[in-house]
Every structure is written in C-alpha cells, then in structure tokens.
C-alpha cells in the first residue's frame, strides 16, 4: 500500500477514502468541493530512478470565486507526508496548463510548502521549475522528505536534466 488511509485519517481534517478504482483518493470539503488524488509511476524521467507523478484535482467550477480553505492544504499534506515517508519515495508534479492557470497553481502549491515550513520543522524539500520556450510553458517540481536518504541523488538528477533546458 502506497499510503496508509487509516494513518492519514488519524490526523487529517478531511477524511480521505479510496475511490472505486482503488487508485484514486477522494475527500470533500465543508464547502462541498470534491478533491481527487492519484499517483502515477514514472521510471523514464530519470535514468535508473523511479518517481511518482502526483496529481490533484478539484471540481471547483471554473469562473467561480475561489474559497480559501486551509484544511485542504492540511489534508493534502497528510497524504503527501504519509506517502513520502515510505521507502524514500520522491514525487514530481507538473501543473495543469490547459486553462492558462498553471502559474497560479504553482504559486498556490508553493505557498502551501512555505506555510508548512513556518508551522514545523522543515519536513519537505521542494525544487520548483519554470520553463517557457520551444512552444511549451510549464511549472513543475520535485518533492521529497528532508530526511530522504536518496535526496541528493534525486536533486542531482533533477539538476542534470534541467540543465538540458538551458541548451540553445
């Protein structure tokens, strides 16, 4: 099991449950917004290193005013904390850009980590990437726990691969 649901729900403000596919977590907020979380295995981004791609979805309707809910961050961080505590797991993410709001998503996700750093010991390491050229614009990043034994290897891999993007 990649995440222990019972363990997450002991500390999570919103209780998560497993979707019928067995591969998606869901939770609902007090404002009636549903969130879904999945992880995809990716063993070809880095040579010889496996990462999981993290995806978060909400059914917050486009055009509706966003309601800030700090419990969403707490719930997502309970999931991430549980996931990343197992077997030196590392995740990568790329912000959805089909509606042009990828920069906003990246800033929001980054602010969650900044808040977490203020609240407790620095639990996570996050390296964010921003790129816009060659007909593609994306915001992405890598996240692991600060005590991950393979942290330096993954950060080196990220650095080496991202250096390629600097090439003209």
């Amino acid at each position: 099991m990649i995440v222990d649901i019972a363990e997450v729900n002991r500390n999570s403000p919103y209780k998560i449950s497993l979707g019928s596919d067995g591969e998606t977590f869901t939770f609902s907020t007090d404002n009636g917004i549903d969130y879904k979380v999945s992880f995809m295995r990716d063993d070809s981004l880095f040579k010889g290193l496996v990462v999981r791609r993290f995806s978060l979805y909400s059914d917050w309707a486009k055009g509706e005013r966003h309601i800030y809910d700090p419990l969403v961050r707490e719930t997502v961080f309970q999931i991430l904390g549980n996931f990343l505590s197992r077997d030196n797991q590392v995740l990568v993410y790329v912000c959805n850009n089909d509606d042009g709001l990828h920069r906003y998503r990246d800033k929001l996700f980054g602010s969650w980590f900044s808040q977490a750093d203020k609240l407790a010991e620095k639990q996570f390491v996050r390296r964010a990437i921003e790129y816009s050229a060659e007909g593609i614009s994306f915001y992405a990043g890598l996240v692991c726990r600060s005590d991950n034994n393979l942290k330096e290897l993954y950060l080196e891999a990220l650095y080496q691969e991202m250096q390629l993007l600097e090439d003209k």
């Binding site: 990649i2 995440v3 591969e23 992880f39 995809m40 295995r41 880095f46 080196e156």
Partner: protein, 49 residues
C-alpha cells in the same frame, strides 16, 4: 554521479507527455473518459488500496 538519459528534445517530449497524461487523468476523474481508456493509453495509476 548521475548521467542524464535525455536530450533536450526527449526531455521536453517527456514533459509534454506528463501534461498530456494529466489532462487524460482529469478527463477520467471528471467522468468524461473510462478507466479502460486510461489504461489503453498506457497511463498506469498506482494501486492505493
């Protein structure tokens, strides 16, 4: 010492695929695409439970 497996082109192609896979995953969780079609596209979600 880590050695890159990519060229700039293959890395950008991989990132484009990440975005494409994510868009398909979103269609799936929105109910616009079936679970089977996701698998047929080679998008494998981790078994969580």
């Amino acid at each position: 010492m880590y050695e890159s497996v990519h060229t700039k082109e293959s890395l950008l192609a991989h990132i484009r695929k990440m975005l494409d896979d994510k868009a398909k995953w979103m269609e799936y969780v929105e109910g616009k695409r079936s679970y089977e079609s996701l698998k047929e596209e080679g998008i494998i979600l981790e078994k969580l439970g």
